[in-house]
């Protein structure tokens, strides 16, 4: 009896003290062939912050997104849920395929712009500003439904010229500092840039919670930040240039699992 009680106490103690690893994936999962998620380059503390849904600050955006999914807005009296029902079912896997070529606009569309278009066309609602907390929250919520699924970006057919455009952007030296994305994120990933480890610049965890900004943040905001760090004129968030770059970068991370919401430095 005593032994049984001790065992019970041990089990309870373990259950209480073990971190609630919602993800808790083995590290190997963050690498596919030569492609490493940004998670791979994080310090232990930041990894733990991402791993635990009750500590991950990006989960606030996901929760806010869930509320927005159900909120009626616009002239049609609809919410996202009115048409799409349960996001956990119908949005599963969607984020693995975006950005993608969009026949309707004849260009590349990403989740942010797709959500906004649905709001305008199906709900009769105003689009959200690109980096608004609302659009980031909905994007994070939709992306979160694919967590653990591999990024699978289609660059064939009509997407091909945009892919080439994005690839050229990636490889072009820019700004007064005159450095391309590739010079750091292809050629020097894993090396130390002052106190920071250079990552491969993968986007599979986006929208991410970025610690230095203390907010959920889009891929395009990160592009803008990288450009201005090189003292290069940025493009507008949601611009065709950044969409093409986003397509190339997402393809570059093919096979990596969606981590949204990731936590990054």
């Amino acid at each position: 009896m005593k032994a049984l009680l001790a065992l019970l106490a041990l089990v309870l103690a373990t259950a209480v003290t073990a971190p609630a690893h919602a993800q808790g994936w083995p590290l190997e999962r963050y690498t596919v062939e030569d492609r490493n998620s940004g998670y791979f380059y994080l310090g232990r503390q930041t990894r733990l912050l991402q791993d635990d849904d009750f500590q991950n600050p990006g989960m606030f955006a996901v929760d806010q997104g869930a509320a927005l999914w159900r909120r009626v807005d616009g002239t049609q009296g609809r919410s996202c849920q009115t048409c799409h029902q349960n996001a956990a079912d119908v949005m599963k896997g969607v984020a693995t395929r975006y950005p993608a070529y969009d026949a309707k606009s004849g260009g590349i569309i990403n989740l942010e712009l797709l959500i906004n278009r649905e709001r305008v066309e199906k709900m009769g609602a105003a689009p959200f500003a690109y980096e608004s907390p609302e659009l980031l929250a909905l994007t994070a919520y939709v992306s979160h439904q694919s967590r653990g699924m591999a990024k699978n970006i289609d660059i064939s057919g009509p997407a091909a010229p945009f892919f080439e455009q994005g690839k050229e952007f990636w490889n072009t030296r820019r700004g007064q500092i005159d450095i391309s994305c590739a010079m750091c994120h292809d050629d020097r990933a894993g090396m130390l840039l002052r106190g920071d480890v250079i990552s491969q610049g993968q986007t599979n965890g986006h929208p991410m919670y970025r610690l230095i900004w203390q907010s959920i943040s889009s891929t395009h905001r990160m592009f803008e930040w990288c450009n201005t760090s090189m003292r290069a004129e940025p493009y507008p968030l949601g611009s065709p240039e950044y969409l093409a770059l986003e397509l190339y970068v997402a393809w570059r991370g093919r096979g990596l699992p969606v981590e949204t919401p990731s936590v990054r430095k």
Partner: protein, 167 residues
């Protein structure tokens, strides 16, 4: 004899007075002053033997003390982002993506360093190192930096003076 001595003293005194009068004008320029306000004209320089710029870009000699501040300025492309400088051990987290600058002053002449700072791409076309004194052949420079160099001409000279002390 007295006259000569007298004129020497007067001359010295005049020299000291002139130096004192000039003092405010020759106070070190604040860091990054060239990155705002009117765009300073680009100083012309001559490359000799493909590897050197023997002539300093400024009349004022390089100041190693200010040069130390220039090269460690964290908000203006400090060398330490990429390079280690063993004599700057009080700066933590030095970069390790480019060669260490250990013994730099023994390995290069000031004329060689000047070309490497002004435009290292003339020596190594695909180097990642920025050209610290160049405004042309760049892509999509951010509006506020168009026509401006990363370092001012004086920054280049002061930086060289400091870098030559790394031995």
């Amino acid at each position: 004899m007295h006259a000569v001595f007298f004129s020497l003293v007067v001359g010295l005194a005049a020299g000291v007075a002139a130096a004192q009068a000039q003092a405010p004008a020759t106070a070190p320029t604040p860091l990054q002053a060239h990155l705002t306000g009117p765009i300073p004209p680009l100083v012309k320089y001559e490359i000799v033997g493909n590897t050197t710029i023997p002539q300093p870009l400024t009349e004022r000699p390089g100041d190693p003390v200010r040069g130390r501040r220039v090269v460690t300025d964290a908000s203006n492309s400090t060398c330490l982002i990429c390079h280690e400088v063993p004599t700057l051990e009080e700066f933590p987290n030095q970069g390790k993506i480019a060669p260490s600058l250990e013994g730099l002053g023994s390995r290069y002449t000031a004329a060689e360093l000047r070309l490497r700072l002004v435009n290292p791409k003339l020596l190594v076309p695909d180097t990642m190192m920025p050209a610290y004194y160049r405004t042309e052949a760049l892509t999509r420079v951010q509006r506020q930096y168009v026509g401006r160099t990363i370092y001012s001409a004086q920054d280049i000279e002061d930086a060289i003076a400091f870098l030559m002390t790394i031995r």
